[in-house]
């Protein structure tokens, strides 16, 4: 009887390894790191699947009657802070500007911004330090100022002769937030004729 020949059970994996690492590299490079948020909200679900733009956008987070601001882009943030400082007569140093540039979102009174920026970076995003941007007082409506300044900054710096650039505004409301609060924010935006905005939602998974 002929003996079964012993066969090595090895498959060459070089090509497979190459492909998988190529894909891995692709996904690592295309993915964006999750932005740390001072106030993580529970997003309401919707069936719309339009993706939100990632650059040149101002995100207003609304939660528990507080408002937080997030501005995309380091350069945009620095410029907005400079303009905001000018408006409220606060001088920000280079270090403070670069510290602010590292903050993806915040919720403080501009007059307390200096003391927030003095806090070490690791503790700067703590929830207790961000009570919200004032917006209910019509004499000290800093939300309106931030929106105005961010729009100005984007329009002045990014517009070309051929194409005018307009800042996009997104509202990120908590699912359980009263509509009245969101309405106030919308009214502030409409007061500046910012009539178009994105409402940030999550993907609906249940049967609606």
């Amino acid at each position: 009887m002929a003996k079964m020949k012993k066969q090595s059970m090895r498959i060459d994996m070089t090509a497979m390894c190459d492909v998988s690492f190529l894909l891995l590299t692709f996904f690592v490079l295309t993915s964006t790191a999750k932005i740390p948020e001072v106030y993580p909200v529970d997003l309401p679900a919707s069936t719309k699947e339009t993706k939100i733009p990632t650059d040149d956008i101002l995100t207003i987070t609304v939660g528990q009657e507080n408002v937080f601001i997030g501005l995309a882009g380091r350069e945009d943030r620095i410029d907005a802070l400079k303009r905001m400082g000018k408006e409220y007569n606060i001088e920000f140093t280079e270090e403070e500007q670069s510290a602010f540039a590292g903050m993806e979102n915040f919720g403080v009174d501009i007059r307390e911004m200096k003391s927030l920026l003095a806090v070490p970076q690791s503790e700067r995003m703590k929830k207790e330090l961000h009570p919200g941007v004032p917006y209910q007082d019509s004499l000290n409506n800093q939300l309106a100022s931030w929106v105005k300044i961010a729009r100005e900054s984007s329009y002045i710096r990014k517009s070309t002769d051929e194409k005018k650039n307009f800042l996009k505004v997104a509202i990120k409301g908590d699912a359980n937030e009263r509509f009245g609060t969101v309405k106030e924010v919308i009214d502030i935006l409409q007061g500046q004729r910012q009539n178009r905005f994105y409402l940030v939602t999550g993907l609906r998974t249940d049967d609606f």
Partner: protein, 178 residues
């Protein structure tokens, strides 16, 4: 490169010291495993983390020219009122002289969606579609939740209502939403 190491040492019993053929292939199984694990991780996190958004265009509140104003007919205008505790009421036409009295409804596919779809098909039967078709005005009280608003806007997208607007609620309407 697939190696089939067939034993070629020949006849049995022959004990010849031969320098062993060195296998140059490195075992890549673990590496591939790891790579695929990471790929899966990045694939899932990238597509899931980016939130969706709804584009909302509100009418300009300041100095709108009369020519630019949309004239809405009474018969094809539906007003949806959103109240506290997921209360939802709708009526057709003007509030003071409604073509259809305020009726309570619910969110979702068995509630307001059926109503909307029926109104749309009624108007379509009369040859009114698109911007001439159903017009929905959404009014929410301050105590309605943000989810309520998103749900109703979502409903507009699902049923394909071409013209809809968010408007301020009047005191009389607030009254019936209590």
């Amino acid at each position: 490169m697939a190696e089939l190491n067939i034993d070629e040492s020949g006849k049995k019993g022959k004990k010849k010291v031969r320098s062993k053929k060195q296998n140059a292939g490195v075992d890549l199984t673990a590496m591939v495993d790891l790579a695929f694990l990471l790929i899966t991780f990045f694939m899932l996190t990238t597509s899931l983390s980016q939130p969706q958004s709804m584009d909302l265009q509100m009418p300009d509140t300041k100095d709108v020219e009369d020519i630019d104003k949309t004239v809405v007919g009474e018969s094809n205008t539906m007003t949806i009122l959103l109240g506290e505790n997921d209360k939802l009421t709708y009526y057709m036409g003007m509030f003071t002289s409604p073509q259809e009295e305020p009726t309570d409804s619910t969110y979702g596919k068995d509630g307001i969606r059926q109503v909307l779809l029926q109104k749309i098909s009624n108007l379509r039967a009369q040859g009114l579609t698109g911007t001439e078709g159903l017009i929905v005005i959404i009014k929410a009280t301050d105590d309605a939740t943000y989810t309520n608003m998103i749900d109703i806007l979502d409903e507009m997208a699902i049923t394909g209502v071409a013209v809809y607007a968010i408007n301020d609620i009047t005191d009389a309407e607030k009254e019936i939403m209590q």
